[in-house]
């Protein structure tokens, strides 16, 4: 792994999903996951913290250069009484606009221990084509 980080973690409240001007019709909360995104010449990698999301509850979609990730979280233990609540539980949803040309066929995604990793390989750049002008 990387170098050990001994910095103490601070709690952060989950960021409620910003729906812009559109109102949400559902009453259950939705959150915007925290992400790391990095890029090199081979492709783009998106890593998102989505605790409580299993592979079955996850949908990833790339449409017109917009990457959408949506993780459904099962509301745990309905019927139990709440004694103390510090965080809310809800689905995760976030969209990214990609500027690079992505090889759609080669996208792969893995979710492990509540962390989603999406690899988006870039398309091989179009080869410059020399056009010979023939004189008539």
């Amino acid at each position: 792994m990387t170098q050990p980080n001994t910095q103490e973690l601070n709690p952060r409240e989950k960021r409620p999903l910003d729906t812009g001007s559109a109102e949400s019709t559902s009453t259950s909360p939705k959150f915007s996951p925290q992400v790391d995104i990095w890029e090199n010449d081979k492709g783009l990698t998106v890593v998102a913290d989505m605790p409580g999301v299993s592979a079955e509850g996850l949908s990833i979609d790339l449409n017109e250069n917009v990457l959408t990730i949506h993780g459904q979280v099962e509301i745990p233990f309905p019927g139990r009484r709440i004694i103390s609540q510090e965080f809310e539980v809800g689905d995760f949803y976030r969209q990214f606009k990609l500027s690079e040309e992505i090889d759609q066929e080669a996208i792969n995604a893995v979710i492990r221990d509540g962390v989603l990793t999406v690899n988006l390989p870039k398309l091989a750049p179009a080869q410059p084509r020399k056009i010979t002008v023939v004189s008539a």
Binding site: N5, E8, N10, D49, R80, I83, Q85, E86, D113, G114
Partner: protein
């Protein structure tokens, strides 16, 4: 948190105005904060945030710890104090990358909390699934509610 309204004669009229203003501000704040405000009430400011629920037989403690693996997580219980410790490490990026976003934090944590009632420490179970830690703490016999039958005479 609300100020107790004080309607007594000693309360000078000028404070009354202040109280009214404060109430008004609280209403606005609540409207803005919405549901989040309710949760802040229990906000302790120590990582990780935990929810505690119960049923008749057990207490359940949940914490969201994405990216941790079970062996980086230490759960211990002593008396009525439960301690959670662990380290969150970064995902390994490839060489020569440029970051576009870096929101996920890494580091260590240690949190102790006092359980609201007696539990059977030797029967406590901790499970880690999809980045969510769930600790099941069976209630001690003396902490369970007893149903008392009312007899008609």
């Amino acid at each position: 948190m609300a100020f107790l309204p004080f309607w007594g004669r000693e309360w000078p009229v000028r404070f009354w105005e202040l109280e009214k203003m404060r109430n008004h501000m609280e209403t606005v704040y609540n409207a803005l904060a919405g549901g989040i405000n309710q949760i802040r009430r229990n906000y302790t400011g120590v990582f990780p945030l935990v929810n505690i629920t119960e049923d008749d037989n057990s207490l359940f403690l949940t914490a969201e710890l994405p990216g941790l693996v079970a062996d980086q997580l230490e759960v211990s219980i002593k008396g009525d104090t439960l301690t959670l410790k662990g380290t969150k490490t970064a995902e390994k990026a490839e060489e020569n990358v440029n970051y576009h976003r870096r929101e996920r934090e890494t580091g260590t944590f240690s949190r102790s909390l006092t359980l609201p009632l007696k539990v059977k420490a030797e029967e406590v179970e901790a499970r880690f699934k999809n980045g969510v830690l769930t600790i099941t703490l069976p209630k001690a016999a003396e902490a369970k509610a007893h149903q008392i039958t009312v007899q008609a005479q």
